[in-house]
């Protein structure tokens, strides 16, 4: 346990003190600022109900956060291997599993930062409407699950791939595929194929859950199935990572 602390601390400090970490957060709030300004200036968007606006903002927050997670997860081991810092870590008493846990905690810290940065935007958009508190709670919960899922799979990929570029290209493709059903029209998503795709896609599950809570004001009982799907994927991601981390190649 004592070795987790310095590793986790290093992962978290790297978020704040490295130029890349700072740049990613600036991009996040840049996008949120642009979307917020569109909400007041664009005719179509300005007519949205508060709940709808909060839901859209939450979806953007989650998407941006996961994009950062995919990038950082892919860099987890492959990037350290390229920068030649992985061997320096492995020659210490630290085990690869401890490094993986610390990196996953670092990704959760990233999510925490993005969530905290997005809260003022959600407040500004949704404070005059309904379900803001529910939106925040479910966004945080769903986001946490998704971060572990995507982060875990990306770290596992990063262990196996020799280069960050390789891990990132596969990870981004998978991320885009998981987001693409959302671009389908609502009628297509209501079809049998659409429902199956939604069921196997944790990203779509999380967004549907947010929609039902924020827009449709459905309570916890209606979220049991989506939550169960997210928990299943979370366990799967952790299992895959633990299997992959047993043999780390330099």
């Amino acid at each position: 346990m004592r070795l987790y602390k310095p590793l986790i601390k290093k992962e978290c400090l790297e978020e704040i003190f490295s130029a890349r970490g700072a740049a990613l957060y600036l991009v996040v709030i840049g996008v949120l600022s642009v979307f917020s300004l569109l909400l007041v200036s664009n005719t179509e968007l300005s007519l949205l109900e508060n709940a709808q606006a909060v839901y859209m903002m939450s979806a953007i927050v989650m998407t941006l956060a996961l994009l950062i997670i995919v990038i950082r997860g892919g860099d987890g081991f492959a990037g350290e291997r390229e920068r030649e810092t992985l061997e320096t870590l492995l020659i210490t008493p630290v085990s690869p599993a401890e490094i993986a846990v610390a990196k996953l905690m670092g990704l959760l810290f990233t999510w925490l930062i993005v969530f905290v940065l997005s809260m003022p935007y959600l407040w500004a958009v949704g404070s005059t409407g309904q379900n803001l508190l529910s939106a925040l709670v479910y966004l945080f919960a769903a986001g946490t699950f998704l971060v572990i899922i995507f982060g875990g799979f990306m770290l596992a990929l990063s262990v196996r791939m020799k280069t960050f570029k390789g891990a990132l290209s596969i990870g981004l493709t998978a991320f885009l595929l998981s987001g693409s059903p959302i671009l389908l029209g609502s009628s297509l998503r209501q079809s049998a194929v659409g429902r199956v795709v939604d069921l196997i896609n944790p990203f779509a599950t999380a967004l549907n859950m947010l929609d039902s809570v924020v827009v449709d004001s459905l309570g916890l009982l209606f979220q049991i199935m989506p939550l169960a799907i997210l928990v299943f994927y979370t366990i799967a991601a952790i299992w895959v990572l633990s299997m992959t981390i047993r043999r780390v190649e330099l």
Binding site: G30, L32, S33, N50, L117
Partner: protein, 185 residues
Amino acid sequence: MKRSYVLYLTLLILLIIAGNSYADGTPFIQVSLQAPKSALKMGDRPVFKGVVKNLGRHSLKGLVVYLSLVSLKPGHEHPVDLEDWSAQKAVRIDQLAPGETHRQGWPMRLIQAGRFGVALTVVDPLENRPVVSDLVPFDIHPKPTIASSRILLVAVGEPLLLLISFGLFHWIRTRSARLREAVQI
């Protein structure tokens, strides 16, 4: 005998004049428009119901029906471009048999608040005067939307705050290292 010829002639002239007048003031097309009954507010998508009826004895072909919108705000009356309000601007009725009624829904997206009037116009290509329904006035109430002042504050303030925070972190980190250095010396 002479008196009766004058009477018949007068009646004939009157009939001709009346016939013409009837032709001008009493169209064979009847058009009406009905607004939704509920209170309307910005963002709503009501459907105005238009009815076109052929009152004549002949079929009417190639009728063009279109919606017009005007702003009735006192002092600011003006026609409104339906570009952003409605996707359906005009329809063509191929044929309307005598006595037949054509019903059409006219959906609209209410994108501004205020007092407006809408009318339905029917153009018969064989007639030189279009037939217009009564102007249907309606009020669109403003919708409580997103508080723009809050949005502006956050959208502009938070990026600035983040930049300042990063700068502060680095300054504190450097300064604390220098302080430790000074203490050591």
